[in-house]
């Protein structure tokens, strides 16, 4: 060992005398780069569910605290076989679609008004800021009186819940439209409507679409709240019934349905973004 060291030192010295040492430059660019670890995602899910199932099977997780995933699966399959799944999903989707469509449509109109007209902005923006944080669940009793106990109040809950975030994302989208593009439009003598149609609205599109992501997740949360008001069918109603009967297997199954619904809708919005914003880098 000591001999080798000697020899190395000798060589180094020799080199130094002959020519200066040549060493590769040190590498220091590591980290802070995302290298996908493909298996990690599925693995985490599989491991978590396996532990959970195992814990439930051995009684280490009491069925009261959490049902086994297999039980939740059974509850889900019951739902499928009894045909109730489609009834629940159908009812919920109908409420979601109507409430969300109306809420976002109105929200976009109001947001464009606020974004385009000084008077609308000065007048409505404070109102929107004041009403946005109001929890819609708190207003359920009023909604029942205003819109009746049937679909009206449920749709209204979702509508109100999606309206405000859409207003806000729309007018911030309009605010963030590149001012030089608008100036360009004016410099070519485009009419006001042309500028709005061809520059402002497409320019606000990315913000509006990303607002959709928020409003849809709010809509799903409010779906559960809305179906607290005497709904016979609906995923929310199913979850609430399961919750009040402490049928945790059904509860988990219902929650999983909503989660998957949320993921599917987010994916659809992703597709819409890819299509409508394909001009983006």
């Amino acid at each position: 060992m000591s001999e080798t060291t000697m020899t190395n030192a000798d060589i180094r010295e020799a080199e130094q005398n002959a020519a200066p040492i040549a060493r590769p430059v040190p590498f220091r660019g590591g980290g802070f780069v995302y290298k996908p670890v493909r298996i990690a995602g599925p693995l985490v899910f599989i491991v978590l569910i396996a532990i959970w199932e195992f814990g439930s099977d051995t009684g280490w997780i009491s069925p009261l605290v959490l049902p086994a995933p297999s039980e939740a699966w059974t509850a889900f399959m019951n739902l499928v076989h009894s045909g109730l799944l489609w009834k629940h999903l159908g009812a919920s989707l109908q409420r979601l679609v109507i409430g969300w469509t109306a809420g976002t449509a109105l929200g976009i109109v109001a947001g464009l008004a606020i974004g385009l007209f000084s008077v609308a902005r000065s007048g409505l923006q404070p109102l929107v800021s004041a009403l946005f944080p109001v929890p819609k669940i708190a207003l359920l009793p009023l909604f029942i009186i205003w819109f009746g106990i049937d679909e009206g109040s449920k749709v209204a809950t979702i509508l109100f819940g999606t309206f405000f975030p859409t207003v806000i994302s729309t007018y911030s989208g309009v605010d963030n439209v590149d001012r030089t593009l608008i100036r360009m439009g004016q410099s070519f003598g485009l009419s006001w409507t042309s500028i709005v149609r061809k520059i402002v609205i497409p320019g606000a599109m990315p913000a509006i679409l990303s607002g959709f992501r928020i409003s849809i997740s709010i809509a799903i949360v409010l779906l559960v709240a809305a179906e607290m008001i005497g709904a016979e069918y609906g995923v929310g109603a199913y979850i609430l019934m399961a919750g009040s009967l402490m049928a945790t297997d059904q509860l988990i199954a219902g929650v999983a349905i909503l989660s998957v619904l949320g993921l599917i809708i987010a994916w659809l919005i992703g597709l819409a973004e890819k299509y409508f914003l394909r001009w983006r880098t």
């Binding site: 590149d178 030089t180 593009l181 100036r183 360009m184 439009g185 004016q186 410099s187 070519f188 003598g189 485009l190 009419s191 042309s194 061809k198 520059i199 497409p202 599109m205 914003l277 001009w279 983006r280 880098t281």
Partner: protein, 255 residues
């Protein structure tokens, strides 16, 4: 059509930006505006194009613009101002859509300007696919499509790298040589100014005043090969501006 700036002054709130600018821009002449950062060049150009109004003084059009001109005062912007969601073609036709032209004529104009700017192959491309130089060519094509009486250019080349800048300068000289146009050309770049300007207006620091107007009577097309002779003018301009540029550089934004 000539343009006449008549004692234009302007202030934004308490800051005086421009002070008593009087100037005439003659037909077929390229007037370069140079001056240190923040002296109000862009503001002045916005007044000329009618996008903003000065606090006092006025900008006059003298004579009628040519009848064929769809948009007499037409801008070319530093950052191109292309709609990213429209193709090259679509960006050019944007300028035409509000004029009631027959569809066929519109198409013909677009084809013509794309050909003149060597963009015919790129008609269907989206802005994100283009290099900076190509984007600015699209903006030039769009400007040409409305047959402007005066082109208002705000540092049109300063977002480009210097090689592309060189290429585009040649293109602009070619365009002017083939069919002369009137232009007000704002720039920081003295080399650009002496290559493109018939007259070079030197502004002082903010509030911008006219310090000197330098005339260059060498034909544009010859300048490229007679850079040596222009060197003197450029040196003179730089001597006029160096101190002010330095002072502008060392200014602290008190935001």
């Amino acid at each position: 059509m000539d343009l006449k700036l008549d004692q234009v002054s302007h202030h934004y709130g308490a800051t005086n930006v421009l002070d008593d600018i009087s100037l005439t821009v003659k037909k077929d002449e390229i007037v370069c505006l140079i001056g240190p950062s923040g002296c109000g060049k862009s503001t002045l150009l916005r007044f000329i194009g009618g996008l903003e109004r000065p606090s006092s003084g006025q900008i006059l059009q003298i004579g009628e613009p040519p009848a064929a001109s769809l948009n007499p005062l037409t801008y070319i912007f530093q950052d191109f101002a292309l709609l990213p969601w429209r193709t090259v073609e679509g960006n050019v036709s944007l300028a035409l859509e509000d004029h009631k032209l027959p569809k066929a004529e519109q198409r013909a104009i677009v084809e013509d300007v794309l050909r003149r700017t060597n963009l015919s192959d790129f008609a269907k491309a989206l802005p994100r696919q283009l290099s900076g130089g190509m984007k600015q060519r699209v903006a030039i094509a769009r400007a040409l499509s409305v047959r402007p009486a005066v082109m208002l250019m705000d540092e049109p080349l300063s977002a480009l790298d210097s090689q592309t800048r060189e290429l585009l300068m040649d293109d602009l000289v070619d365009l002017w040589t083939r069919e002369s146009f009137t232009a007000v050309y704002v720039t920081h770049n003295l080399a650009e100014a002496v290559r493109l300007g018939h007259r070079i207006v030197v502004l002082s620091r903010r509030p911008g005043r006219i310090r000197e107007i330098v005339e260059i009577d060498m034909p544009l097309a010859e300048r490229k090969d007679r850079v040596h002779e222009l060197e003197v003018k450029q040196h003179h301009l730089w001597d006029l501006m160096r101190e002010e540029a330095r002072a502008a550089d060392r200014e602290l934004a008190d935001v």
